[in-house]
Amino acid sequence: MDRNTDLIVIGAGPAGLSAACAARACGLEVTLIDEQAAPGGQLFRNIETPMAQAILDPKDRETGLALVNRFRSCGATYYPCATVWGLEPHKVSCTINGKAESFSASYIVIAPGGMERPVPFPGWTLPGVMGAGGADILLRSGGTLSAERGTPVVLAGNGPLLILLACHLLNAGVNIAAWLDTGTWGRRLQSGALMPAGILDAAYLGKGLGMACRILKNRVPIIRGVTGIRAEGTDHVEKVLYEAGGKTHEIATRTLLRHEGIIPRTHILNSLGARHAWDTVQRYWYPVTDEFGHTSVDSVYIAGDGTYVHGGDASLLKGTLAGIEIARRLGVISNDEAHYRCAPALRALRRTRIARGFLRYAFAPNPAIFDLPDDTLVCRCECVTAGDIRKAVAEGFLDVNEVKRVTRCGMGQCQGRMCGPALAELTAAAQAKSPAAVGTLQVRQPFRPVTLENYCDLNIPK
């Protein structure tokens, strides 16, 4: 793989696929690398199979299939099942079928998408507790959440995607025993003022309302103002406990699905030292970019929910813009042509951003979800508790990297992907500061494990 190409796209979700298509439409030489076996990313995962199509809404199915078909015929070189573990400007290292490979290109678009905000709570490491997004993947893989159909599941959390996931569960015939809502009404009221702008994207608003109605029609019991969620059981969740209305309640279940919104996946950009900014309402870091996804690292672009969570429609537009902009920077198309090609996507993206502004408030995470008992395991890899973190802060270790070094929180295999947000929230709360003021975990490459053999084979000068 020693030939240089124009563009490497990492990720085959909506943003990555549309970036590859747009760049190909401009005549660029494009390589797309993705960790899944088939294109689609998370939103359109397994879209080419009947089992995924069965639980998706018709509109999503249509959009997803059209995109994947367009990509399949666009002429980009496609490497599925590739684990990317190294990235420097102009170079990507990955493992494909057990073999290490590296690719070089003038520009790189990373399209890592978003991930569910990981929120620890007592018992969250018990089997049977999952992210709602993880459960969705099981359904799209033709699987079921438990051996016997109809076994009740409990949903807990807050976020627009939770409504979509609940509809998928209903499509799959899953019995939702309860919906424990952890959102805050203060924020939802604030969102009201921004709601009229939603009319700019009436179709999206209508879709959301339609889904909400379906959930209500299915009589899913929704419990508001829930705090103190915990799972209990021996080697598997057996019951869920929570506080609501000043009382503790209990539900027997074998499946608890938690969702607290989507956050951008910033791991790769963090490892490159790219600049990020903090969103005070959504409480996450997002990379600082221009409208085309240009990061603070010169030849590296980002597209999709990895730039900021605006959702799938926006991801398609962001990918398109990045692909065209790179063709312009390479001098393949003129400034004028780039302007002409970008105009519709730019207009649509600006409209979508304004229209979605209210979601930022309506589904803002409640900071109280991080108000965890001391014995809650925060770092799943290294088994570090909330109490361990607070103790380190009390001893004078004040930023997340210092706390990490003395507690091992974030030092495990996942490199803080699962505990990073909670570590920052706890470290900040113990000092009455904003999480933005306690630093971000330093991410080191390789950002996915690679065997020492593979690492050495690829990197020893031949």
Partner: protein, 93 residues
Amino acid sequence: MQNTATPTVHITLDGKPLEVPAGISVAAAVLGHAHAEHTCKHPVDGSARAPYCLMGVCFECLMEINGEPNVQSCLVTVQEGMTVRRQLSGESA
């Protein structure tokens, strides 16, 4: 239960045969089709663990695939004849 239009592959899980749809991840097969109670014992505290995210983030789905331990099984697609073992000894090696 499987859609007839979906081709399947045969794998073994802890020595037992399992037929699952082609194209899905090993973790999805073990959790969503074989309904394993858990997929590994944690090397630090010995507790039972199972996949949380199924999309490559949580590292809780580590299993032995074709003899190779500690593989992120949610990032590996099932293949005909694949042997999968859960890591139940609490040791990572």
